[in-house]
């Protein structure tokens, strides 16, 4: 963690501002299938956390059930993880985020965990603006139970077995925008640069962040008939804009390509610079974002990038007007009314 002046033969691993190396942000070894898109997402979570100088002990990681839900064990071992029950990760994140508002909450879910069994909790967590990064590792298939359709599977898509999906998909991004989410992004597990930038922006955001990451399943949904196979996504991934994240303390913007740039200021003073590829695209325009996503979907494309942002919405602990310090640290002196107060309450009941 710390560098010393005494000579060491091997070059020290680079450290971030807190003195941590990237190694300090890794987790246990992944047990997912080799080449799984989810592991690429995990890798970017590690990179982004390192580059964003996250304090590992403040990180909490939540999940439900499924392949995606195993991944919180694979990053940031310094943080606390909670692998709960199927579709109920949002309420777990809600309770802990209220108990201790200084925590940095990362929820990892899948398309089955969030858009089927967990739809109710997803919707309400977004609606309440629970302070958390909500990542949906979206492969359109139930991997852990060996390949059934999920609710994000495209109508008409095929399973390996040949079964055809008869129902239209649910799109987490348009749904999240509809629900008032203030940070909605989509990315692709095969586009590390974009995902990294989105995650770093997400770490600076204070409410609910929804990131739908198209993450092809190498085992059950990677045949050419699938719209979530590597081949399909590579051909149809349509980046909306490049995105560079700048910590407030840094003077210069880095790696911002030419073109129109939108700088969005976060409540903590951090800024995100967004370059829209589309002429006139306005990432703070809710209706415009919906239109762009729908138009893209109509063409069978995945519109990726930071699709919608509204940094002004107060997160849940603020809405509830909670004290600044974690509720977990409040002492009995503050929490327990006095004998005189009990007496007053009793008198009123006489």
């Amino acid at each position: 963690m710390t560098t010393t002046t005494s000579a060491t033969p091997a070059p020290a691993a680079p450290t971030n501002k807190l003195g941590f190396t990237k190694q300090d942000y890794v987790g246990s070894k992944s047990t997912l299938c080799a080449g799984c898109g989810h592991d690429a997402i995990t890798a970017q979570l590690i990179n982004a956390a390192f580059e964003s100088n996250l304090e590992g002990h403040r990180v909490t990681k939540y999940s439900g059930i499924g392949c995606s839900s195993k991944t919180p064990a694979y990053f940031i071992n310094q943080g606390w993880g909670f692998n709960s029950v199927h579709g109920r990760m949002p309420s777990i994140a809600t309770g802990a985020s209220l108990a201790n508002r200084t925590l940095i909450n990362i929820g990892v879910s899948g398309d089955g965990d969030s858009m089927s069994i967990g739809m109710g909790q997803f919707v309400h967590a977004v609606r309440r603006n629970v302070p958390m990064i909500y990542i949906i590792e979206d492969n359109g298939v139930y991997g852990l139970t060996k390949g059934q359709f999920s609710a994000t599977a495209d109508k008409g898509s095929h399973l390996k077995s040949g079964a055809v999906n008869d129902f239209p998909p649910i799109d987490p991004c348009t749904l999240a925008i509809e629900l008032g989410c203030g940070f909605v992004a989509r990315s692709f597990s095969g586009n590390p640069k974009q995902l990294n930038a989105i995650l770093k922006a997400a770490f600076a955001y204070q409410g609910t962040v929804v990131i739908d990451v198209i993450s092809p399943c190498v085992t059950f949904n990677n045949h050419d008939a699938s719209t979530r196979s590597y081949k399909h996504v590579k051909d149809h991934d349509f980046p909306l804009h490049d995105l560079g994240f700048i910590q407030y303390s840094e003077v210069e913007q880095v790696d911002i390509p030419a073109g129109e740039t939108e700088v969005v200021t976060f409540p903590d003073g951090s800024k995100v610079a967004i370059k829209a590829i589309h002429e006139g695209y306005e990432p703070t325009d809710r209706f415009g974002a919906m239109k762009a996503i729908h138009e893209s979907m109509a063409k069978g494309e995945f519109l990726t990038g930071l699709l919608y942002i509204n940094p002004t919405q107060p997160p849940l602990p603020e809405v509830l007007n909670l004290v600044d310090e974690p509720l977990t640290t409040l002492g009995e002196d503050l929490l327990k009314p006095s004998p005189a107060e009990l007496d007053k309450i009793m008198q009123a009941l006489m």
Partner: protein
Amino acid sequence: MTAALAAPSPVGGAKTRINDFSIQVATVNGSGSQTANTVLLRAIFQMGVFVSGKNLFPSNIAGLPTWFTIRASAQGYVARKASNEMLILMNPETAKEDIAKADPGALVIYDEPLQLDKLRSDLAYTPVPFQKLVTASCPEPKLHKLVKNMIYVGVAARLLGIDMEEVKKAIAKQLKGKTKAIELNQTACMAGYDWAMENLEDQDHIKVVRDDKTQGLIIIDGNEACALGALFAGVTVVGWYPITPASSLVETFIEYAEEYRKDPKTGKSTVAIVQMEDELASAGVVLSAGWAGARSMTSTAGPGISLMSEFIGLGYYVEAPGVFFNVARTGPSTGLPTRTQQSDVELCAKCSHGDTLHVNLYPGNMEECFQFAYDAFDLAERFQTPIFVVTDLDLGMQNWASKPFAYPAKPYDRGKVLNQQQLADMKDWGRYKDVDGDGICYRSLPGTPGGKGSYFTRGSGHNAYAQYSEKPEDYLEVMNRLRKKYETAKAHVPGPVFRNLGSDKGVLAFGSSDPAVVEAQDLLAAQGLKTDYLRLRALPFTAEVDAYVKEKQVVYVVEQNRDGQMANLFRETYPEHATKFKSVLHFDGYAIDAKSIVDQITAFEQK
């Protein structure tokens, strides 16, 4: 009309029942009758007489029949009494049926146009021209419906001999600060009283005579008592979902939190209260907040517990604290949502799939609702597990007289939580290592700095170091330790209380059955059958319960459900004594009464 009152009472020559009677009021729900009935109850209470009230209300907002019974008892019996000495019939829909069910000799106050006096000759009728009186006393026609009920309070006060000053005081208390409403209701009440003074003669059937039994007592319901317990216990996160009869627990807590849970310096809240989208989400909030180090709770009823079951199993297995209030109602399914029952005994004892055993607390009165709610948070954090506080609609929503609550001076027990320094000093910390041999492990809280103590919580198989494991020996280690932890809890939960009259025949009950059992014990003793009564206050069963079961020749297990659920738990726990347990049951949705218990025990004894 006065002639009817003077008619000979069929109970013939029975002496006046002083401070010992029941009144049943039949109204339509949504008509403001709850206020009138509470005023009547309060006025009797203020006269120094022990009194209890039971609201038998429908699952409906307005327009369906509702009954309210008020029992006064000089001896202090506060259970529901199945027979009533006075009926007040305001609901045309049910009046005929109410008359048919009336006990012989009952006084019947009714709305004059109902013309009930020809239905039976063994009742004493008092028709009252309510509409005429309300028109004369209340200038606003749209309020007539609400104020009409206050008139019967005045009439009843006159017949029972209740001091009108006490009635006026009770109205002012009930309508706290609403000056216009107080005036309106007091006027209507006086109109009833004055009319009765002019038109009715005295009756000597039942009377209220000033006593000193309620000096210094409070009137409260169990939901408010539990809410106060949670307030003093310092609950910091509440996730809940509305359900009858549990909603008012959190709603009352919210009112108290407004006053007592603001940081005096900043005015900001020291408790997070979120109405969740359902009971599943409420349970998730409770357990994760507990996991993160908050004191957390929810309040629900049977259907909510069913929905929470998956999470409660998670809480048990990952060892996350949380307090679950179950204000039980009549099941199964939607059942009778506004009626009482003790039919979630087995559900809460073993909630969730797989092998699970939970600590349950059964308060039996208002002081215990307060104290056990307070204790539940200590137990949850000490044992790092979901704790059930099981009451029911009868305790939770009915009015009870109680001694004022003693201040819970005992400091909070925050359990085995390691801080940064302790974590740094530990050589080989494992989240699920049984260091002390009591089955309770040391935990760390998210956010603890220093780089030590983080761990991964999972509902899947895990070993002592919280690592994923499918190894049989790891699985067994955790499951056997959880069982040990449950055994450890025996020394920490409230033990039973006894009311022994000196007998080898036992009566065992819990929760809201207590007043009926006490009364039944006295009635049985008067018949020559003495019993020793054990009131169970918690699961797991403590050593005193073991001893009682071993020593008694027979144990009558009194409970308010069909299947004898508590008796089942006893048979399972004490298989060698299984034949001793006889079920005394009452489960029609109304609160249990002493007569039902006496009749069933007598029948067993005659076998």
